[in-house]
């Protein structure tokens, strides 16, 4: 996983609430066995018409937002399915940070596992940042994870909160599994206790 430290980039405004995972990546694109290559299908139905041509009014079809690495949206972003294809599609497009008033839980979790930083900021702040983003190529937002601030084009700094453990993993680009396996003796101990205290728990075998 790539580390996330500081990002200065174009931000795309997506002034929609309840952007669900089917909107981020429709189910018909989940038939892949790879993590990459989903970027072209990101927001497929918003981005392309029935014939597959780009809808010129959709933000990611416009310059400079084709190069956006930050996305700003409204409430309950990422609701719906647990498909990690949603963050994979965002990442493959180039998005490394999503800013919204709040996120659906599983999506929020999945972002961190893929080096995408989801930032919760109040709605008024999201609206202000969208206004910045609409200045297009003239405006860049900076997201500084180390200092936990978003820097607006006018230099104003907006602090955001983030779980310290997740911040640490993102800053270091660390793999969760490696971290957890350092606790293998505790897991062994738990399993031994479970075998004696909950001896009734059956094993699945002989299917």
């Amino acid at each position: 996983m790539d580390r996330f430290t500081t990002l200065t980039a174009i931000a795309a405004p997506l002034p929609l609430a309840n952007v669900d995972t089917d909107k981020i990546i429709p189910a018909r694109f989940l038939k892949t066995i790879k993590r990459t290559g989903l970027g072209v299908h990101l927001f497929d139905t918003l981005r392309y018409d029935e014939s597959g041509a780009e809808r010129p009014d959709f933000v990611l079809n416009q310059e400079p937002y084709r190069r956006a690495q930050i996305l700003i949206a409204f409430e309950n972003f990422g609701c719906g399915s647990s498909r990690e294809h949603a963050p994979w599609a965002l990442l493959d497009f180039g998005i490394r940070c999503v800013i919204a008033p709040d996120f659906a839980d599983i999506f929020h979790n999945n972002c961190f596992k893929n080096g995408i930083l989801p930032i919760r900021l109040p709605r008024e702040v999201c609206e202000a940042l969208m206004a910045d983003a609409r200045m297009g190529g003239n405006a860049r937002l900076t997201v500084d994870l180390q200092r936990q601030v978003v820097v607006r084009p006018n230099g104003e700094e907006i602090r955001f909160e983030i779980d310290p453990f997740r911040r640490h993993l993102l800053l270091e680009g660390l793999d969760d599994i490696g971290q957890t396996l350092q606790h293998a003796p505790a897991i062994d101990g738990y399993e031994a206790r479970q075998r004696s205290e909950r001896a009734w728990v059956p094993a699945i075998g002989g299917v």
């Binding site: 002034p15 929609l16 609430a17 309840n18 669900d20 089917d22 909107k23 429709p26 189910a27 018909r28 989940l30 038939k31 892949t32 066995i33 790879k34 993590r35 139905t45 029935e50 409204f74 409430e75 309950n76 609701c79 719906g80 399915s81 647990s82 498909r83 990690e84 963050p87 709040d102 659906a104 839980d105 599983i106 979790n109 999945n110 596992k113 893929n114 779980d163 310290p164 453990f165 969760d176 599994i177 957890t180 396996l181 606790h183 293998a184 505790a186 897991i187 101990g189 738990y190 399993e191 479970q194 001896a199 009734w200 728990v201 059956p202 094993a203 699945i204 075998g205 002989g206 299917v207």
Partner: protein, 468 residues
Amino acid sequence: MAEPRTLFDKVWDSHVVERLPDGTCILYIDRHLTHEVTSPQAFEGLRMAGRRVRRPDATIAVVDHNVPTSDRSKGIEEPESRLQVETLERNVAEFGVPYIPLLDARQGIVHIIGPELGISLPGFTIVCGDSHTSTHGALGALAFGIGTSEVEHVLATQTLLQKPAKNMLVRVDGTLGFGCTAKDIVLAIIGRIGTAGGTGHVIEYAGEAIRALDMAGRMTVCNMSIEAGARAGMIAPDETTFDYVRGRPYAPKAGAFEQAVAYWRTLPSDPGARYDRTVTLDAGAVAPMVTWGTSPEAVVPVTGTVPDPEGEPDEARRAQMRRMLDYMALTPGQRMQDVPVDVVFIGSCTNGRIEDIRAAATIARGRKVAPGVRALVVPGSGLVKQQAEEEGLDRVLTEAGFEWREAGCSMCLGMNPDKLTPGQRCASTSNRNFEGRQGPGGRTHLLSPAMAAAAAVTGRLADVRELA
């Protein structure tokens, strides 16, 4: 005296392997269910890191999401779907994971077969790379959906890194009226609290109306917890639960079962346990519900009308409502019962159990699917299909003009050939009515199995109470 604890607290506490300094817990997972869509990249990750599956005996794999529901003897035609299924087969063989193949009688939707086979049990932690894992919470388990990275994490470590959720109580008092079901309860709850109403919480469903539900109904309610934004839904295990579990193929046997029940009886929330949020609902006031928009919270009683965005004070919400009405091709004030349907889908992990098929057959018996309507019944598993056929329900349905198909997710998400075409309108017993969920441009109205059958025979969103 120890602090009174909730059902969630108890299951959580008993699975904490270790609490890290910042409060994140390493949580032990009792059961891990996998399917073809969200697992390939996880197995690939294991392979690349040279890791093994820690507990194959606590893991089960099945194919469900993109399998065809018509004749399967010729295999899967669609190359990408076939590749996903073959990839899963290679992975389970390589890592020694128990697997239920496509042509096995027990194949079915992962959330149907877990409880049905006794793989999902009360007091367990259960995960699956699928958000509707919340279904298994009906047994009194802590069950939630995870992403593919977490699938890999569980495969490698049999644990997850998690922070405790908040507790939310949804108490449904009273008794359900004639023609109303568990599906109507959960749609009414989502209508009340909204699709983000449960964010950060685990919902415990309680109250007289929940106690009165059979396990199928409880699973329907817990299934849609995710549509209310909750991480999971749970219902305290009771005699109904124990009777359901007893004798299932992978449930504890004989003496072990009695030990298990003794433990399960300790799980219900203690008197005085604290909830961060409580919502109450009167089951007597719940009518048969139907959604009108592209979010499950956009729901009204079938006797109602399409709402008017102009009456909505919040501008963003007003714009969203307009967009939904535009997509759904509905006009404010239109009576829901006048809305015609093209397709009816009865199935999914929300309503693909034998009880759901019985409910649909009761309405279909002696009637005919309306002209021009295509109606599909897709059992949730091969065993549900078998049972229905033993009861003669397949004949009742096919004589009425319904299609009787093989088990799978099918038109719930349209990853297999069962899809809506653009503009088609569907009465569906599934759980999501997002834009394009059942096929690009398709329009979905969520409702109960009996209501879906009523829509099939009338050709519109009918009030089932007038047909029963």
